[in-house]
């Protein structure tokens, strides 16, 4: 095996042209995928039983009123025409009008964007903070009581439904020992970090359960590699060997796990947002599906798709940063 990554130059700094080309290529690749996603989202919604106009009018109007509202909302136009209108709305950035709120979808989603993003970023950072020391400890003290304890704890966490874990944490840190608010989003950045701590922790614990496992086994495998012996024989301290050689070479698979899981979390914050009363996109998605607010659901689908693609790009960049043998192409 080739010796470790520590001293290598950083390919991102040295070659910004490559980076630019890489990003451009990824964006171009994105377009057909996005069109596919919009078509699927559009058609799935139309297949779903239930009609926005009759849900809006409900028991209050007659069939004639419903027909008139459908016409006003443009829901009686042929499907291909509705789809083209939707594409046009995406291109002009408004994403259309919400059928229920009667405001531009872009505005409706923008208001709900930051809680979800803040929550996901916060949870991912917490997961990293939890994973690095615990996985290292587990690997170094392999087979010890500490190792077994860490593994048992996270198996327990993983097998608990998130809403249950959420309610448990609320009871413990919101009511018994009131360190954190029971729910809500707060105002101002620090206040929000405080409000989001418990929900982010619930997600982070779930993520950590996976990443600790993955990092622990990589660390154990890499520790016995020949280049690690070489590094030790150079006279590096055990800490430096761990940090510069073992950790770097172990991170790749954990970054993959983290990226896949975070993509999943983006669409999966629904439950956490409900338990902690957070005004995020997950919550908006659920209410919009129930009221058949087609343009909002379509808009959210596009936003979620973009975010997942963004994560995959960031993951590729992270690979390259961790391991210079990986080139951006």
């Amino acid at each position: 095996m080739i010796a470790g990554a520590g001293a290598a130059r950083n390919p991102i700094d040295c070659d910004s042209m490559t980076l630019l080309l890489f990003l451009l290529r990824r964006i171009i690749q994105l377009i057909p995928a996005l069109i596919g996603i919009t078509i699927v989202a559009f058609l799935l919604l139309r297949v779903l039983p239930g009609d926005p106009a009759s849900l809006l009018i409900g028991a209050r109007g007659s069939e004639a009123d419903v027909v008139m509202l459908r016409h006003q909302l443009g829901l009686d136009a042929p499907l291909w025409q509705q789809y083209l209108t939707f594409l046009g709305d995406v291109l002009n950035g408004s994403f259309g009008q919400s059928l229920v709120q009667r405001r531009p979808v872009a505005l409706v989603i923008a208001e709900r964007f930051s809680p979800t993003i803040l929550l996901v970023v916060y949870a991912t950072m917490l997961a990293v903070v939890i994973t690095l020391p615990l996985a290292t400890l587990s690997a170094v003290k392999r087979g010890s009581l500490i190792d077994l304890g860490i593994q048992a704890f996270f198996v327990a966490v993983m097998s608990m439904p998130t809403f249950w874990l959420g309610v448990l944490l609320i009871l413990l840190f919101g009511i018994k020992v009131p360190l954190f608010p029971v729910a809500g989003y707060g105002q101002g950045f620090l206040d929000r970090l405080w409000h989001l701590f418990l929900p982010a922790l619930v997600i982070a614990l779930g993520t950590s359960a996976l990443t600790i496992r993955s990092l622990r086994s990589s660390l154990i495998a890499v520790r016995s590699a020949e280049f690690v012996d070489t590094a030790r024989s150079k006279g590096l301290s055990e800490g430096e060997v761990l940090r510069r050689h073992i950790m770097r070479n172990s991170l790749i698979s954990t970054v993959s796990v983290l990226s896949v899981h975070t993509s999943w979390v983006i669409g999966g914050t629904v439950v956490i947002e409900a338990v902690f009363a957070l005004p995020g996109m997950g919550n908006l998605l659920v209410t919009s599906v129930f009221s058949r607010d087609y343009p909002v659901v379509q808009g959210l689908t596009v936003v979620f798709a973009l975010l997942v693609m963004l994560i995959s790009v960031l993951t590729d960049l992270a690979y390259a940063a961790i391991d210079p043998r990986i080139r951006l192409q």
């Binding site: 405001r103 903070v129 608010p181 009363a277 005004p279 129930f290």
Partner: protein, 503 residues
Amino acid sequence: MRNSLIVALLGLMTIGAGSADAWAQGSERFRLGIFADAQSLDPIATSDNPSIWSQLLIYDTLIRPARDGTKLEPGLAESWTSNADGTEFVFKLRDAKFSDGTQVTVDDVIASLKRAQSDQSNWKRFFKPISRMEAVDARTVKIALDKPFTPLLNNLALFSAAILPAKQLQEKGASFFEKPIGSGPFMLKNWARGSKIELAANPNYWQKGKPSVKEVDIMVIGEDNSRVLQLQAGQIDAMINVPVNQIKSIASSGDITAKVAPVYRIDLVQLNTREKPLDNEKVRQALNYAIDKEGIIQGLLFGTGTPAVSSMPVMRYHNTALKPYPHDPEKAKALLKDAGLPDGFSMTMLVQSGDTTFQQVGAAIQANLQDVGVKTELQLIESGAQWDTTKSGKYQASLSYATSDTVDPDQLIGFTAVNPERADAFHTEWKSDRLNELYDKERVTADGPEREKMFQEMEQIVHDGSPFIFLYNKGATYAYRNNVEGFEVLPTSNWRLEDVVVK
């Protein structure tokens, strides 16, 4: 990097401890936890309860239901009169101002009601009978109808008849409702969508000395358990929709009071009378006898309901002589035998998914029906799809409910029992010519004993015809911390927060 994160985390925890007492303040502010955010503050475009409730705090109507829901009382109009045949109503406006200080004028009234009956209104049917409106003088408005329409006064007490400042609405168009102005007790300060609606007391409110709280936060907390936990932690002062199984436990700590308010809501099973054997009245009555309503109310609703006699909740003009179908499986079996079904039959019942109570009640109904030989298969269905499915007539039975927006029974009887009218008797396709005739008459008969008799006869006809399995009138649960006074859920399901005092 790792170290700085840990430091940041420790920092967070100390901030947490520091501001923990910041939530415990009170008296000036009332925080109410509800289950969903309002969709819009445009009164002619909405029909979801959170929107309606918020609108009723911000806007006024000419007249409004009294607190007890039995009659109408003055709102923006301090008095009103009508001519003998009920085709002309004259409203005298009180001296009231919108929250921005401008006077509420007759022109505002006329423009708002015209908007409510226009084609852009989801509620136009309620105001269509108005044919002319004119200003008699600066404070008096006359509303004229081509023919009598008794429910009109109740409809004018609906949120959708809210009086808005005409000029501003005209100038701002749809954006008016981003920061609306009304003459109600509160005004919109800030709306963090999906999170909370912050209201401030309207300094120009016409009722002197009200509201007593300076601010109201309507907090959106979708999860029932989270709402309960927030109330217990003192992060909110009151909440609605307490899960029925927690009504007792929530009050056990001693600083919270939980209550059940009777509201205009009826839970029932729609029976599709297009389908055999549900087209047979005897079969439908048998199903009514088969259900142990009291058992369901005690066992599943924890006593928060009363058995129903018809598709009408207990409200004005209720027929008190009617008794609920008793739980009598033998009678049910005998009726089925009479109908030529000694071995019972099988049917499928739609039950709304995602609602625990509905699913439990559905299972109880299934068990009760099994006892009389009717095999019922439960089919879970999402609420939006349920409505469309029953509307299309492709179902046999469907567990559902109906609510009234007004204190007059006209709206609910029209919806649940008149065919075709608006909904083919709530999608059952059941039809009684006598009831249809009474409905037409009731709408042109002035309020009084004569109209009361018509409603009582209609309720009797629905009871006998049994297009539904009549289940129960489910109460609305709510709870508040004991330093709160004057918070209650009204029969119309909304609340008047101008009377709330936080100590």
